[in-house]
């Protein structure tokens, strides 16, 4: 069995760590090349035009995995979420038409996620005993937690660093270092070391950066290729970015704490309550609630990322404009037609808008 999977943020790191730990032979797990324009072109070519960007990017990534010889592919499935429920079926069909006879293993992301993920690992691992799988799994996800922890610091430092790009460079080094680590203890040390490195980056001492919260559909929020590195671009404009949605948070709650009755979105759903009180698929309900949350927390603005044609986020976007919480929202639509230059012009104008607004509030004038 040669298992392939689509790229999604840093997901490949725990997969790699886990399979190595479980003694997978070379070529048993295929990590596709990082998402590039080629991945997108492949995905666009073989997808229905109206499909959403996450569908196209994951299809492109799966094709690139097949090109490297993958015969078993992993994709998410679920009910009541959005088109994601059909991704695996549609992509399986398309890959067959392209002549790749890959078998799909699906991961249920709407119910019983922990059992689903464990079953998936066991299916792939030739019945390795649980006592080996469980620690390997924790070792793998430990790396994700480490990276998200470092990234949180990076998001703050990018806004105020003297030489733009330094924090991002250190973060890239951190990703590689965490990826290479073979022991949990090592991961911990690397985390500490890199957080220290990021904190040490020379910063503008008087900067009081504007703060922006990022909300929206999970794939385009987490995968930098899909959102054209929006967080890095905001950092260059001197904006501090915060986002609730991370892979480690999803794992922490969906795989563990939800089982204990802890609902990570309870607060956010409550805040969305006056405007929308039920799930509308995808991450739409959460987007509305998070907008309210960021307004309460005194953020200067919210950026709402949505794939083009994403129904839940379109509904959310329209609800957001009519909430009474007064915070500017910039809606950014992610798809293959969007030009980066166009997005940057919108970002620059938005940054001016929230900057004027803050100065007007604090000093009563625009400058």
């Amino acid at each position: 069995m040669r298992v392939g999977f689509p790229h999604f943020g840093n997901v490949y790191i725990p997969v790699k760590a886990m399979t190595r730990r479980l003694g997978a032979a070379d070529g048993e797990v295929i990590i596709p090349p990082p998402i590039t324009q080629r991945t997108l072109d492949l995905g666009v070519k073989y997808s229905p035009q109206e499909a959403c960007l996450p569908y196209k990017l994951t299809l492109g990534s799966l094709i690139e995995a097949c090109e490297l010889g993958a015969d078993t592919l992993i994709q998410a499935r679920g009910t009541g979420i959005c088109r994601l429920g059909y991704y695996a079926k549609g992509q399986e069909q398309m890959l067959q038409d392209l002549g790749y006879n890959a078998h799909f293993l699906t991961l249920d992301v709407s119910h019983n996620k922990f059992i689903s993920i464990m079953r998936l690992i066991r299916d792939m691992s030739n019945n390795i005993p649980w006592r080996e799988i469980i620690p390997a799994f924790f070792f793998g996800i430990g790396k994700l937690f480490a990276l998200d922890k470092i990234e949180k610091v990076v998001q703050k430092v990018r806004a105020v660093e003297v030489e733009k790009g330094t924090a991002s460079r250190i973060y890239r080094e951190a990703i590689n270092a965490v990826d290479e680590a073979t022991e949990s203890k090592e991961v911990k040390e690397i985390t500490k070391e890199y957080i220290h490195k990021v904190i040490q980056v020379p910063k503008d001492p008087v900067a009081d950066p504007l703060k922006v919260g990022i909300v929206g559909e999970i794939y385009v929020v987490i995968e930098p290729f899909a959102n054209m590195d929006i967080e890095v671009e905001l950092g260059k404009l001197g904006i501090e970015v915060e986002r609730t949605m991370t892979l480690s948070r999803w794992i922490k709650y969906s795989l563990f704490l939800n089982y204990l009755g802890v609902d990570e979105w309870r607060e956010v759903h409550k805040l969305a309550g006056p405007y929308i009180d039920h799930d509308i698929g995808g991450d739409g309900w959460e987007s509305v609630g998070e907008k309210v949350l960021y307004a309460h927390e005194g953020f200067d603005g919210v950026i709402h990322l949505a794939p083009f044609t994403c129904m839940p986020e379109i509904v959310a976007e329209n609800i957001m404009t009519s909430t009474k919480e007064d915070i500017p929202v910039l809606a950014v639509t992610c798809d293959e037609q969007q030009s980066k230059q166009g997005m940057l012009t919108h970002l620059e104008a938005f940054v001016d808008l929230i900057g004027f607004r803050r100065r007007k509030r604090e000093h009563g004038r625009r400058v």
Partner: protein
């Protein structure tokens, strides 16, 4: 005397505006970009130099518009600002009670919503030509009418033809159809104006809270037919400020004045001087093959030296070799 220069390089026209310390317009020029922003900026600088007395010292220069980065390198800008902000700033300076700005340019259209002197929302259409000036120009050409005479025809129309405006392709076939049916020219022209406004309001302005005072700026605001179409939609009159076509450049000049003076930023301006118009600039592009992204990198060089590069997904080419 100190002067502050704003350079607005749009896809269709290039505008330069020079303000004095009191932010009064002392010189300006409006040129067609003709796909050659480098030459137009150089020519614009020459024209401005001709209009002013040699005592005027350029104490700040800012660029805006879709060609702002390129123009910024050419002139040595102290500030490079997006066109949404510059248009808003200029309108707020001149019309204190403005709440809505419609801006329709050659290749893009924007709406800016202002409350209490602060921009609170904006929309911008940067790729679709159906709601923009080049659409009108193209159709004028097809009808064999000079774009300057477009407004006059539109005002004479009594029964405007209804023309599909969702997309220029449909608008064009619809217009030809109406022509073949023998609709009068005036009615076709005003029908086009209405379809442009319909498209604009359903597209860029969708869901925006449009409140008076309504200000209309950008090159298309010269067109009386479009103003008539706007006025038919809204209860309150659309106001076109003097120098509507220069508002982007004026806004850029105001902002650089603030940047250099009010903030007491006592740096000397980076302005390269009017002599820039004699430097040989060359623009070129190449495909970076470092990874499968195959980014198209564009670069500008002056007198054989690379001045700036753009267009990569990563920052590999952003740093320009020092020399």
């Amino acid at each position: 005397m100190k002067g502050y220069l704003g350079v607005d390089v749009g896809s269709v026209t290039t505008k330069l505006a020079l303000l004095d310390e009191n932010e009064q317009l002392i010189a300006s020029i409006y040129l067609r970009t003709q796909g050659n922003p480098v030459n137009m900026v150089k020519q614009g600088l020459r024209e401005i130099q001709k209009q002013i007395s040699p005592e005027v010292e350029i104490s700040g220069v800012a660029t805006t518009g879709s060609g702002r980065y390129l123009a910024g390198v050419l002139v040595g800008a102290d500030l490079v600002k997006n066109e949404i902000t510059t248009h808003a700033v200029a309108a707020m300076q001149h019309i204190s009670d403005v709440q809505t700005i419609f801006e329709i340019g050659g290749q893009d259209s924007k709406i800016i919503i202002i409350r209490d002197g602060v921009v609170i929302d904006f929309g911008m259409n940067s790729v679709c030509a159906a709601g923009t000036g080049s659409f009108l120009e193209h159709q004028a050409e097809r009808l064999n009418v000079k774009i300057e005479d477009f407004g006059g025809h539109a005002l004479r129309s009594e029964n405007p033809a209804r023309i599909a405006g969702r997309c220029t392709v449909f608008a064009e076939s619809d217009m030809i159809h109406k022509q073949q049916l023998g609709y009068p020219l005036d009615d076709i022209i005003y029908g086009l104006c209405q379809s442009l406004i319909r498209n604009y309001l359903n597209n860029v302005a969708l869901g925006k809270q449009i409140q008076p005072r309504l200000v209309f700026q950008g090159g298309v605001a010269f067109n009386k037919g479009i103003i008539r179409a706007f006025n038919e939609v809204f209860d309150s009159e659309v106001y076109v400020p003097p120098h509507n076509e220069l508002m982007g450049a004026i806004g850029a000049a105001i902002l650089v004045h603030e940047e250099m003076e009010i903030k007491q930023n006592h740096h000397k301006s980076n302005f390269k001087g009017f002599g820039v118009s004699d430097v040989e600039f060359k623009t070129s592009s190449f495909i970076c093959k470092a990874c499968p992204n195959l980014c198209e990198i564009s670069q500008i060089s002056g007198n054989g030296k690379v001045l700036a590069r753009w267009g990569g997904r990563c920052d590999m080419w952003e740093r320009v070799p020092e020399s």
